[in-house]
């Protein structure tokens, strides 16, 4: 009789999966993915944002499959997307073309086109509403208002365009560059440091919302130098088009996505760019010795931080705009350090690496023990 391996892993995993299924299917009220798309919209938005995949139905399925765990749902969507071929890149979307559902500016009392509050919890009183317990399952709100929106689409120029016309907003060098060249694609290529702005924005758009919020908050509280005014926050629908694969010069409409876009305004001194160069000979060389400066005036300008997220997510979009500016400005401190900010906020990467600590590490631990024992042996020999 031959020896056989002592197994256990296989059975343990199978039992664990069976148990998960049991937890997921508790009780007599199964969840309907369609209802989740309709009634858990903000959660769906968060998951699509962090997954970097715009598909409410799949997001709902992922949530269902993961007992509502956000990081698991994001994980499922990201993994699913890896198996798909990237067939096309869309034509760049322009936030100014948005069919608006919400548009506010904290910088102006009134703006051309008007402000529109739209749907927000900002002005609700956060009182737990026990009457919802008796709300009938199929309570349906008349959707006349949204139909009205479809009949009379609301478009408006960006607030920042008003300031651009006045030359008060000056695009930063990377900003200008990103409109000239093809943006980086972080889903296909690894990040390289220092990062171009397009890569930074992509990473932050997919970043874990809480992480980004915490960094932005720290920035405001004094660990950074960012003091923003929300120039404009707009939520609405954007059309996605691609170059027609067959007909030259024609475009093909592939759908619509809902997004929230934020432009935050910061006052910016031209002089500070000189500071940055003074501190770092490397950056100076990068800029090229031959660059000729304009006649420098130390007047103030408005700098813009940009945030864009899937769906309705004011907080993440604002946080992103603050961090965009903070990274663009490259001032002192960890909140302007692109390696720190961009490498530690990805939902998948952080949860993957933290959870891997649960894997067995007995080989490495034994190596560690060997070193500890050998140094102890030496010291004990010394003391003896």
């Amino acid at each position: 009789m031959a020896y056989v391996a002592v197994t256990g892993g296989q059975e343990a995993i199978a039992a664990s999966i069976a148990l998960l299924r049991e937890y997921r299917c508790h009780g007599d009220n199964p969840l309907d993915p369609v209802a989740m798309v309709n009634r858990m919209g903000l959660l769906i938005d968060k998951i699509m944002g962090e997954a970097g995949l715009y598909c409410p139905d799949h997001a709902a399925l992922a949530l269902l499959q993961s007992e509502g765990s956000v990081e698991e749902a994001v994980f499922l969507l990201r993994a699913y997307r890896s198996s798909l071929t990237r067939a096309y890149y869309s034509i760049p979307l322009d936030g100014a073309q948005m069919r608006l559902l919400r548009r506010i500016s904290a910088a102006y009392k009134d703006v051309p086109g008007g402000q529109m509050l739209g749907a927000t919890y900002d002005y609700t009183h956060r009182l737990l509403d026990f009457s919802l317990l008796s709300e009938h399952e199929d309570t349906k709100i008349d959707t006349a208002s949204s139909e009205d929106e479809e009949c009379n689409p609301f478009h408006a120029l960006r607030v920042s365009d008003l300031l651009r016309a006045e030359n008060i907003i000056v695009q930063s060098p990377t900003h200008a560059k990103s409109s000239e060249t093809v943006p980086e694609d972080i889903t296909q290529n690894p990040l390289r440091f220092p990062t171009p702005r397009s890569a930074r924005l992509q990473v932050m758009a997919r970043a874990e919302s809480g992480f980004l919020g915490g960094l932005a908050y720290a920035n405001l509280r004094g660990f950074g130098q960012a003091h923003p005014t929300v120039g404009e926050l707009r939520t609405g629908w954007l059309e996605v088009n691609i170059d027609h694969p067959l007909l030259d010069g024609q475009t093909l409409h592939v759908g619509e996505i809902q997004v929230t876009e934020v432009e935050s305004f910061f006052s910016l001194e031209e002089e500070s760019q000189l500071e940055e160069l003074r501190d770092d000979p490397l950056k100076r060389m990068e800029r090229g010795q031959g660059d000729k400066a304009d006649t420098s005036t130390n007047a103030l300008q408005i700098g813009v931080g940009y945030g864009l997220t899937f769906g309705r997510s004011d907080q993440k979009a604002i946080s992103m705009s603050i961090m965009d500016f903070s990274l663009e400005k490259k001032s002192e401190g960890i909140l302007s350090d692109d390696e720190f900010v961009l490498l530690h906020g990805d939902c998948l990467e952080m949860s993957g690496f933290i959870s891997h600590l649960k894997l067995p590490h007995y080989v490495t631990f034994q190596s560690k023990l060997d070193r500890v024992r050998s140094t102890r042996k030496d010291t004990e020999a010394c003391h003896a």
């Binding site: 020896y3 890896s82 990237r86 296909q188 894997l359 080989v363 140094t375």
Partner: protein
């Protein structure tokens, strides 16, 4: 087989990208090639770098083996094996000598590897210079300039302070007298197996998005000072309580009575020996 997914899960474009990175890695031994690491259904940090290499290389005729910490039956090995199996359908084995493609976490198998086999190692943190420099932009420059004095200084400091290099597993090596590289958290016992071996070693770090390689017959030296030679784990006078093997990496276990006992870490090797001895 998984319904609705490509053979070996990844789309063909992604596989080609990984293979291009592998070719570059083989051409420049020990150099960390950045690659567009994809998300997988397995956790980032759970071997996704190794799995992407495996998925990009595996063909229908391959025979695949996975070990984790020396064991074919560890939960993570089981999980990776069943994933690769479900999206490729290739033959699996636990027998090292039968496998054409072996993916491993934290160990190099005891049985000598051959030229017609590939060992894929999973890497959690690929950057050896991270212990002295936190920033990627700087470490990349340091590699380019072979600016390794800070690394040696770190090791020297260990010796000055505690009389010993403190690194347990994942002990850094220098490849062909050029790049310093981490061998992934294999025990120091396995480091010598990297040197002038006839097998192709591939290293994948999924979360950190790096691939590197040690091609067959490459010189690989563990970092050491002249008067502080590199030393593997001290396992003299120990033997496997099951198969009696010596000179292999042994796990330290506690018997029911609290006594320490030792057992082959490489479970498939141990099993094979027991079967041979039994016959």
């Amino acid at each position: 087989m998984l319904e609705g997914y490509n053979f070996a899960f990844l789309d063909e474009g992604a596989k080609r990208q990984v293979r291009r990175a592998l070719l570059k890695a083989v051409a420049i031994p020990g150099y960390q090639v950045p690659f567009g690491s994809r998300e997988l259904p397995i956790g980032r940090g759970w071997g996704t770098g190794g799995i992407q290499i495996t998925l990009s290389l595996i063909g229908k005729d391959d025979v695949f083996k996975v070990i984790d910490q020396g064991s074919d039956d560890s939960v993570n090995a089981v999980s990776i094996r069943s994933f690769v199996s479900s999206c490729t359908g290739v033959e699996q084995t636990t027998d090292t000598s039968q496998a054409t493609l072996i993916q491993s976490r934290h160990r190099i198998p005891e049985a000598p590897l051959r030229n017609d086999q590939i060992l894929v190692l999973q890497v959690p943190l690929p950057e050896p210079l991270r212990m002295v420099e936190p920033r990627e932009a700087v470490t990349k420059r340091m590699h380019a300039e072979l600016d390794y004095a800070p690394m040696w200084l770190g090791l020297y400091e260990h010796i000055v302070r505690v009389g010993e290099v403190k690194i347990g597993a994942d002990y850094p090596v220098q490849v062909e007298n050029h790049y310093i590289m981490l061998p992934s958290p294999i025990p120091r016992f396995d480091n010598p197996k990297l040197h002038m071996n006839e097998t192709l070693y591939l290293f994948g770090a999924g979360r950190e998005k790096k691939i590197y390689a040690i091609p067959p017959y490459t010189q690989v030296a563990s970092l050491a000072f002249e008067d502080h030679p590199f030393r593997i784990e001290d396992q003299a006078d120990r033997a496997c309580h099951l198969c009696g093997a010596q000179g292999v990496f042994l796990d330290e276990l506690f018997a029911e009575d609290g006594q320490k006992i030792y057992q082959c870490n490489d479970s498939s090797y141990c099993l094979k020996r027991m079967n041979e001895n039994g016959e």
